[in-house]
Amino acid sequence: MIELRGRGIVPGVVEAEALVTRDAISGFGGIDVATGTVIEPRHELFGVCFTGKVLVFPGAKGSSGWSGFFQSTRLMGTAPAAMVFRVITTKAVLGAIVTRVPTVVEAMPDPLETIRTGDRVRVDGDTGLITILDRGRQQAGFTE
């Protein structure tokens, strides 16, 4: 088990599969709240659904609608299960609060380097602890 320690900014504990991107995410114009999918054509997660996943991303970009769009994913039932990000901005922080999913920021070692898409992860927004419980199947061949 690998542990990452950061600062919990939205309380709660959740275990889910990780979805990792190195690209900052745009809320307005970047996600479709009805389907919980990234829709920005140049984004590496273009067409990928984040609903129920631990969304691991560098931070927010684009419009101040960011928080409202992620809040809408909660109201529409398409929200991620948790958020992990590095760059503290008002957009991403307010977005995490109104999405009301466990959120950890500024974790070490760097989540973008440590967590891989498909890993099963526990995010503890109370203590700021992130735990990689299982490596995802798609990476198993490389790690064993």
């Binding site: 684009g62 901005t89 957009k91 009301r100």
Partner: protein, 427 residues
Amino acid sequence: MRLTDEERVMRDGAEGEAVAAAMDLLIRYGEALGAERLVDTRNVAGTMTQPSPAKAKLEREGGWARAYAVINLDCDRDIEIPRMKVPTCQLQHGFAEDAAGLTAYPTTSIELQGSAENYFSERGVNILATCTPYQVGNLPVRGEHVAWMESSAVVYANSVLGARTNCEGSASTGAAGLTGKIPYWGNHVPENRLATHVVRADVGIDNFQEWGMFGYFVGETVEEARPAVIGSLAQPDLADLKHFGAATATSGGVELFHMPGVTPEAPTLEAAFGGLHIPEPVAYGPRERQWVYDTLNAQGTSTDVDFVLLGCPHASLDQVARIAHLLEGRRLHADTELWVMTPRALRTMADRNGYTRIITQAGGHVLTDSCPAMSKAAPPGTRVFATDSAKQAHYLPAILGIEAWFGTLDECIDAAVTGRWRGGLRP
């Protein structure tokens, strides 16, 4: 977070449940940011009245109070919403009724927005209905702490006006309007306003298109950081700075830039860095310029243009005048629509000057309150659009699934008149 006595009693309910909920959100938000305290503000620009499916559902459940509580205060309790404590304005809407018949808005959404306007007007929200409140009288002064959302307005307020705001959201502005408070963090703190990067233009930035492309490059380069831009910069006007800032906020997350000799906190490049070390500049030359142009034009293949969109951020009166001048005595192509988006207050002046009549006689429309990116609506059947806005060229293909051409105002007007895209990057 340190609270004043006033803030503590607000949190504890002395001014009612809505104010208490607003303080609760501001405290959670401020602590998550790592803010030490809140700061007073008397200028809030947010969004309350534009319809959305989520808002419609909440309004059905418990009226506008419920919608405001959940969306603008992150509160699930049934509470009454009092008058805003400090001057607060509504930013752009989902649509305006002047687009009725041009594009399909559900009747229920039109009614919903109307009833929201009535409700929030009674609570002291000024329905400016524009992404550019600074163009219609909400003009904060240098050093003033404000709570604004809308990325292009935030970057303008911070950079061009020297006011202090973070990029707020529906919930934080909803709470700020009821309390006159916002976390003292980020751009509110003087040392966080110093430049971090230098970007130097080695090609002439001397017209609206060049300012937009340069801004798109700067945002892509610095992301959320604070650039000082130098080099071959002609004297910009309001529209140039509006376009430049909007582009930096679109491709990156820029909330504050410095332009030595132009913006108020940067009389010199040294001042922009507060006397600290100035990093090596990133160069914007012909190759970078070509990259930006190609990127913004990589979303079009068909040169048959159905739709031309001007005014993003909302057109100034001078921009509307230029459009009218170019269209005078001409007719739009039968299969091409032209929308010019402007604040309703400026449309009144465009009407008075005869600009609206010229644009309308040519077959175009001067529309208010919204834009296709907000309303998620273009003229029915649009497949290919053209625009002079780097921001709309970036967003609309994703939002509407249409092709985009980005060019100069002259090229856009040419496309509106001929129905063909004949633009290209001039040396």
